[in-house]
Amino acid sequence: MLMCHVKGCATDNFPLRIEDAELEQVEVEFNEDFMRRMINKIEWGAFVQTAFALGVDQLPATVPENIDTEFLQRIHRVAMETKLKEGKMICNGCKHVYPVTDGIPNMLLQETEV
């Protein structure tokens, strides 16, 4: 969901590349209706790319036409239950590094970068 917002950085700034990732599995109650709505809010290409890069899951390049419960559970596991606990998110465009500490991405910029 997060993207680079360094001033003047407009190309190749999404998704951020993740390095030195430490992942965490959390348990979140599955709700089928919610996941069905949530899929429409997900930037699918970026989501698939990130999940693959992190070794979490190898998802289809496009959203399947008939989405069944099993598929929604799979998305639930990746999107809701797999969290980036520590790591760096790096912009492929301008190389800016956004650190993630204790599950919280730091998207604040220095004043010169705003």
């Binding site: 997060l2 993207m3 209706d33 709505r37 991405p105 730091n106 998207m107 604040l108």
Partner: protein, 213 residues
């Protein structure tokens, strides 16, 4: 509806994070008043800007548990507190350290179903605005509007078609003027959901939306 438990905080935490106060509780009451409308709209994505202790988003998670809850704050203690409060109350919240919603960039364009902002609304000298410490929770500069006025141009672009935006104001902010401005410039309808006097503060919770409710 019960209020989120905050027993995981000590007095010391409130040196760094805004302790839920009358303004927070009025916002909770306004959300509860709107519970019917909120479940009717079935929000998927919720974002609270300046989430502080996390009390408000957690409460929203009690009212409507079927959404993805995001939060932002420029104060690292507050972002951590938000996550903690959500966790201890069974509402998963993903906070980011960010100025308003800038960290999300265009990804949230017209995607937010419930947007909440309890801005620093207290009238202070302009020089007190812009810290990332606890002062950021209240110092609002001239008319208590300086921080809100920075966020106003971004609101319409974040709201989804059915999106609701909840804003906390005090009378010094001139809420009627804000409502007129939002209609005139961004075409957003608004309604005062609740008002309350708390000490010297004349608080109001205003709800904005693309369609009239």
């Amino acid at each position: 509806m019960k209020t989120p438990s905050l027993i995981h905080f000590t007095e010391k935490d409130y040196d760094h994070v805004y302790e839920p106060s009358e303004d927070t509780f009025l916002l909770l009451d306004a959300l509860e008043e709107d519970a019917g409308l909120i479940s009717e709209l079935q929000p998927t994505l919720c974002l609270e800007v300046g989430s502080g202790s996390g009390c408000v988003t957690t409460f929203l998670g009690f009212l409507w548990p079927h959404a993805y809850y995001m939060a932002s704050d420029i104060n690292p203690h507050a972002a951590a507190a938000t996550k903690k409060t959500g966790f201890h109350n069974g509402v998963p919240i993903d906070p980011v350290l960010s100025n308003f919603a800038t960290g999300f960039g265009a990804r949230l364009h017209k995607a937010v179903d419930i947007l909440i902002f309890n801005p620093p609304y207290v009238v202070t000298p302009s020089s007190e605005v812009g810290s990332s410490g606890i002062e950021a929770a209240w110092a609002g500069g001239v008319d208590g509007r300086e921080v809100l006025d920075q966020f106003i141009p971004h609101i319409e672009g974040l709201l989804s078609e059915k999106g609701l935006f909840y804003l906390v104001t005090v009378k010094e902010n001139r809420p009627l003027e804000i409502m007129a401005h939002m209609k005139e410039v961004y075409g957003l309808y608004s309604k005062v959901v609740m008002t309350r006097r708390a000490g010297i503060e004349g608080l109001a919770i205003i709800r904005f939306s693309r369609v009239e409710h």
